[in-house]
Symmetry: D2
Subunit: 354 residues, 4 copies
């Protein structure tokens, strides 16, 4: 493809992102180049834009790619150019010690080591994307699923479901989910898929609480109307919940999760925290409550993508409806403006090439 | 209650059960006496009737009680006479070594030690039932649930769901369930509750296959029409299933389960086997397939019952429809005749006092 | 035993404990009365004495009993008067919802609900002790084991080992244990028993570090000589540890545990915390490190005691040597003075009747 | 290396192996070529020689390599020529669906798919060996460990330990291991490392039983002197064992394992079976015994090798002594003769280049 260039959205400086022209990258032996057909914007991208999560200026951002294989590295087998694929936000190598012992998101033994797109290498908000360790990460999209139907797989659905999985939700559990943005909604759907018998969710936006009930919540609490901790303790008659899922990333919601947890319960945390967390000794039962606090970074890799697409393909969840707005890549700054300011009831935007 | 007597269905000899009068038992210090308001007949009871599973002549059979507390042992606290309760088929003591390490169905470290009703002590097909270890086993029934709605909890639902639980079904798994009688149907419902993305079930009765689709199967196979092993391998494109559930108790279905299992998969067995099982070395991959074969006896105890009622109460499954026929206790021999011969599309019968 | 009285050590007020005469209790139907033959003092008892952990004035303290059955409740079967028993510090009922789902230390669904002795009911630093739920809690001591050999079972060994168990230590793991008091030493022994290939321990007392090496540590760090976090990162060449065990109960050691944890690692906390805990966002990897933080209250019940005695009986650990000093019950205030002030290299004291 | 050739031991026909000259292979982009410095013969190789496990005539056999990197594929990074490495018998790709979900030995979703060396590709009993998926499989050997010290890692130790791991041995478990050949001895060592409190082993060769006690058995049973099933039930006072490990691969030992298993216990099978297995309904408790039967193929990959070397390096086991005889590659037919006929107390032979 010689010296062709492509459009790419880069982080320039805190508060500033730009759509620029960049050379189309060439795949190394184990890489693949994919042409992006649909991508989206994540809350984490907005953190990056604001400078709250630092990345190198000039980096293309975005980590949620659906596309078509354009070129394969010389050592990549089992794929052909033209196949439609989805790739996880996290791209494990599959071959390091961490990956081989199942801690794929911390690839290479480095914190968040598996999160490369839009973090340590160029990301998906562009016309083309270089996928490292292609054989571990290219997941073929079945013909019957549209780009938009699988667009939640790379991050939103994988992360949200992991809230239920890391919480080890069992049949008959009572579960609370704090915050019902896209991740929280998927955590709710994941809790439902995992056999929870009672799911209580918390947010302050009525459209999110309505959608929460659609994807699986039994009871929704608007925290502007009542104290969610007290409400959950009342609903459970003082018992507390078996599993509490944090889907926002603030000290307040983390503490609320602890306060609604039954002795012996599990707090499954999905949020990205920008500050320290204070654990009150009372909510910690002095360290004697048999509590589990577990954090999870979005599981990636092609097997994870395959499983999530199976869930979608067999109608277990209906998450296509999370795409509330659609933009062309050339309009992506507008899309950021809408999404970053949470205007117009936006949940997720779909970005397609011009 | 002095010397009052009650009606009770006893096993007399292979092929012979009788409705007789027996003294109403008196609770020892840790027992409770309950007045049965609804009970049912299990396939295992038919095995007992036929002499295929030996019990002592004179024993009252049945192990699926819903009733009302009539009298409490002197050491029983936390309950009052008149409360409506359901009791699991398995009644763990909660206090022996096995129970304390979580192997409650093998209470006392004896094979099937937790299965007492209609096996080692008088059972539930009677007007009254003595419940041992009452504090571990009496589960209060919420007012909004009818007897029939909780009638599947003691055995059918607890056993069926355990097929999914012991199989450790994960989100996105492909699952096959062999046999769709009451237990198999609940295994299907349990697989659905556990996040299976594709559920394939096998039986030869069309009404059961129809109900199978209602409770969660994606694809049903009538084994009189095609070879289920071949069909499942075709459906999964040679991959096999992550988890296969055996819900019948024959060597043939056990072997079929092994043959559809992916390398690294789990066979979760619920059936009661009356003969030896032959494992072909080919289906066993010479012992090198990373296979797990696990058997499960119905989980009991009041916490299990509480969780199953939560599942019912929050509408996660609709198993009331399993009761296809209703009889009075005085008509129970008729009910056995219908159920034992699988006439008239029977799934489960409800037995109530005269 | 009529109106006989016994000696018992009670908490009177913060800073004040007293040896008084109390009526010997009479067992209810499911209780047992045991005559204490050996008991000991725990760090938690010193917290109680200082008023840092509140209990009701007049309560007999102590939770580590070895003794002989003196009298059995009318509903207790399977035991005879005169048998020698050890009882866990935590006495689960085995029959509530929490116990039946395996969360025995949080018996009754209440925080620390299983910890009764010397917390919510009279404890073991007395001539006699009433054991609730006797059938779940009386563990027969094999003849070949002395009182002192099993004296660490009720709390020290059960808690310490649980640090390794809750950390899910696997064969080949690298483990750090912060603090090498009696609990920490048992955590070290437990890590060794669980297959850790490299165990690094931290304390500031040389006699404890020496004993640490005897029970299983490969490398010991005196934190007065060097920064343990830096030292552990150096030893592991920047990799961090798979599992860090906190065995003290301070914010500082909790934070140090987090800082030496590899991404994807587990912090297993045993300490009793008297204040809040601050989690620095850096050590928390912004919630994206796939970390597990788990707290454990001492596992109890007779099966746990049986297993620990098996470990001792087969020579897997040699913890008898933890008893460094011996006192009569009438000298117990002296014993508290020595133990509470950590004089004379004390690890554990044995208290026997006069 | 042009057209150079190397010595290699090939399977020619049932009963016939030959040392021949073969071209030295050239690594593809993700492969590595290693020069073998030490290898050994496995019982499985003898099965292959006898034609009991079929491989393609002409294939080089052997799957236990220690060597030095001779040449690296163009896409392999992180290694340099000359480094000393050990490679597992099983070489997972790390990148297929099976590997990514942690079922690495069944790489590619094919039965035993991860077992390539001496099975589906040329093996290690040669002067050079081509290692596929080099980045997932080359494990650097620490300088302080000799070739012989790590020679058990690729198969014997990895397989043996997995018997304990798959059995989920817990602190305080009673474990029986049937057969004390090299794999069984490592299973015994693995059980000891996993916290078993009582380990009972069975064999008929006194030198193996003696070594069994050295690596961790508490009680050894010579099955020529007494019935091991009866003996184990006597030793456990009728309780049975928590975990039974099968380390031979015969129906008889499999059945014996079942017969000594407590209700709720686990049979962890390591053997390679050449015929069907008959499960008696009595030992199967009619399918109601909450039993787990699990088979495990040798775990591979460089992280597994690293962990095993950590175990050796820190002195947790002393398996070097398993090498009882040493041969040059040119004498390998002699080595097979000795090993295949189990002469002269042989456990394992070390094979080094001429």
């Amino acid at each position: 493809m010689g010296n062709r260039t492509m459009k790419a959205l880069i982080f320039s400086a805190p508060g500033k992102i730009e759509l620029v022209e960049k050379p189309i990258p060439r795949p190394g032996p184990t890489d693949a180049l994919i042409r992006i057909t649909t991508t989206t914007i994540c809350g984490t991208d907005v953190h990056i834009l604001k400078g709250e999560y630092p990345v190198k200026p000039g980096l293309t951002i975005g980590h949620e790619p659906v596309g078509v294989i354009e070129e394969l590295g010389t050592a990549v087998t089992g794929y052909t150019v033209g196949q439609r694929v989805v790739v996880g936000a996290i791209t494990p190598c599959g071959q390091c010690g961490s990956c081989l012992e199942g801690i794929q998101a911390q690839c290479g033994g480095k914190p968040m080591g598996g999160w490369r797109f839009g973090n340590t290498i160029d990301g998906a908000q562009a016309e083309f994307l270089l996928v490292p360790n292609a054989m571990a990460n290219l997941a073929l999209v079945p013909d019957q699923l549209s780009d938009e139907e699988v667009l939640m797989c790379p991050d939103i659905m994988s992360t949200g479901f992991s809230g239920a999985e890391s919480g080890k939700i069992k049949i008959g559990d009572t579960v609370a989910v704090f915050a019902q943005g896209p991740i929280g909604l998927c955590a709710t759907a994941g809790a439902r898929l995992s056999g929870a018998s009672l799911i209580i969710t918390v947010d302050n936006l009525e459209n999110r609480l309505r959608m929460s009930r659609e994807v699986g919540a039994d009871i929704t609490i608007n925290f502007k109307e009542k104290d969610p901790v007290q409400a959950i303790m009342d609903i459970t008659r003082g018992r507390g919940v078996d599993v509490a899922i944090e889907a926002l990333g603030t000290e307040g919601t983390f503490q609320s999760c602890m306060r609604v947890l039954k002795p012996g319960g599990t707090l499954s945390s999905l949020g990205v925290y920008s500050g320290d967390i204070h654990i009150p000794v009372s909510a910690f039962y002095a360290g004697l409550g048999d509590q589990t606090l577990i954090t999870t970074l979005c599981p990636g890799g092609k097997e994870r993508m395959r499983r999530l697409m199976e869930i979608i393909g067999h109608g277990r969840v209906a998450l296509k409806s999370m795409v509330t707005h659609r933009y062309k890549l050339s309009q992506i700054l507008e899309a950021y403006d809408l999404f970053g300011n949470q205007r117009d009831g936006v949940l997720k935007v779909a970005i397609t090439p011009d």
